[in-house]
């Protein structure tokens, strides 16, 4: 299976995500800055992203992720349950476009 390409707005950079890898793991591997305070333990919700396009290429959300997501979806209008995922649990099977404020590409673009 080929890597999925995730386009991250509003910075507008691309992230290559390996099969089975999470978006958060791919970000760390690529030197991308991605907000978190729990470092991938599915606890803090700081890594949550909004899916703008490519919903058909999203890996399924497990019960742990759904449980944590309930803390932020619904209450705030900008986080619709349909479009919100945790980067630390999100896998992709193809191209996806997401929005994540605070996500920044590496200083050296070669390292992606």
């Amino acid at each position: 299976m080929a890597d999925g390409r995730v386009r991250v707005e509003p910075e507008g950079f691309e992230l290559s995500v390996r099969p089975g890898e999470t978006v958060f793991e791919a970000a760390l591997r690529s030197g991308v800055t991605w907000p978190t305070i729990c470092y991938g333990q599915v606890r803090c919700t700081a890594c949550a992203l909004r899916v703008l396009d490519g919903h058909q290429n999203l890996g399924p959300a497990g019960s742990t992720e759904q449980g944590v997501l309930r803390q932020i979806t619904g209450r705030r209008r900008q986080w619709s349950a349909r479009d919100t995922r945790l980067a630390c649990r999100l896998t992709v099977t193809g191209d996806v476009t997401v929005e994540k404020k605070g996500a920044k590409p590496p200083a050296d673009p070669q390292s992606t």
Binding site: L28, T36, I37, C38, Y39, G40, Q41, C88
Partner: protein
Amino acid sequence: MTVHADRTELRTPASFPFAVEDADKVPVQRYFDPGFARLEKEKLWPHVWQMACRLDEIPRPGDYTEYQINDQSILVVRESEDTVKAYFNACRHRATALGEGAGTFHGGQIVCPYHGWRWNLDGSNSYVYAERGFTPACLDPDFLRLRECQVGTLFGMVFINMDPQAPPLAEAMAGIAEALAPIGFERMRVRWWRHVILPANWKMAQEAFMEAYHVMQAHPSLSMGAADEDYDIDALGGEFECFPGGHGHALPATGKVPVAGMSMADYFMQFNNALYFGTDAYATEREMFIQQGLLERDIPEDQFPMAFFGALYEYAKGAGIPLPPPATNTSGYGHIFPNITVLPAYGNSIIYRVRPNGDDPESCVFEVWAVQIPAEDDGEPERPVLEGPVPIEEWPQIFKEDYRNIVAQQKGVHTKGLDDLVLSGQYEAMIVNSHRTIDEYLAR
């Protein structure tokens, strides 16, 4: 060479209750007395090298798994491709356990879920939230470091020792490391990993697997109808070599058929079949396939095992299975003190680990791994996941037979008029040696 457990030299004076004074006799209280269990908790477990996990449970940097023994929780962490660390599982701030079960510390950060303090995988602190609120002494880097255990690896397993003064793993494993090296345990990967909670002392449970003397009576599928002396214990699992560290192994089988009147070919095949159906571990589909292929060939009865091994190595070569050459000085069946027992064959192995279940002297966590050297194209295996607890009645036949006897023994040790268990210095040498070594720890 035959080396039995040393029965004459009991160096430890009886400085504590229920010490073994006559090597052939084990006081029953060692299997249920809360004081004896407390002594093990204080003198044995915090000072002995013990297997905390398999290396393949933490394949990548950042992967961790939690190891629990008595009331201690230890995080075993893959620090880099070739280094592993073990930390007492507590935040240096207010003791919160930093990890549970198994998982991955992403971004190289171990994060406390309570107030967000963080550590690097090498145990150094990387972040204290609002540190201006703490005195400099509280922020001293050495004070903030996670507390560690000693770590060593052997046979694809990670061993830890909580005692910083304990001699290194290589010293503790002297004898057994060399004896079992030809088996190739480090090449094996997990096929399945299950556990059962047994209502018995941890030693009682593991001792059911530390001798082959019970095969005649306890496992009809392995004694194949041979009654009493018609099953020759001396043919298979009758001679052990024991080491000072508490370890031991069974010397190679004699090549004789243990079942009177049975041909080598029939015995060999029935033995494999019984273990395939009775354990799904020692023999697997791979060996059943090879054995089936041989039935269509005309092989003299006594040459069947040789033909089997010939076909096995040929198959392994074709499939890219890196089988080590046959071991000549060990059967492979062995015990790694204090609580690992291995039963390998054909590039496979059953591995047992038994731990006390918390502080209860009459409950234990009994784990079984079925491992196998994978073929080249099997790809990178998933991290193994522990199944269970699986109730006794749902295990394959041979395990069930052993578990039932363990439960019955634990019942028996409480009965009046029974002061000691009796051991054969020859057939139960690994058990004798294990108790002797336990007492060395308890006497310290």
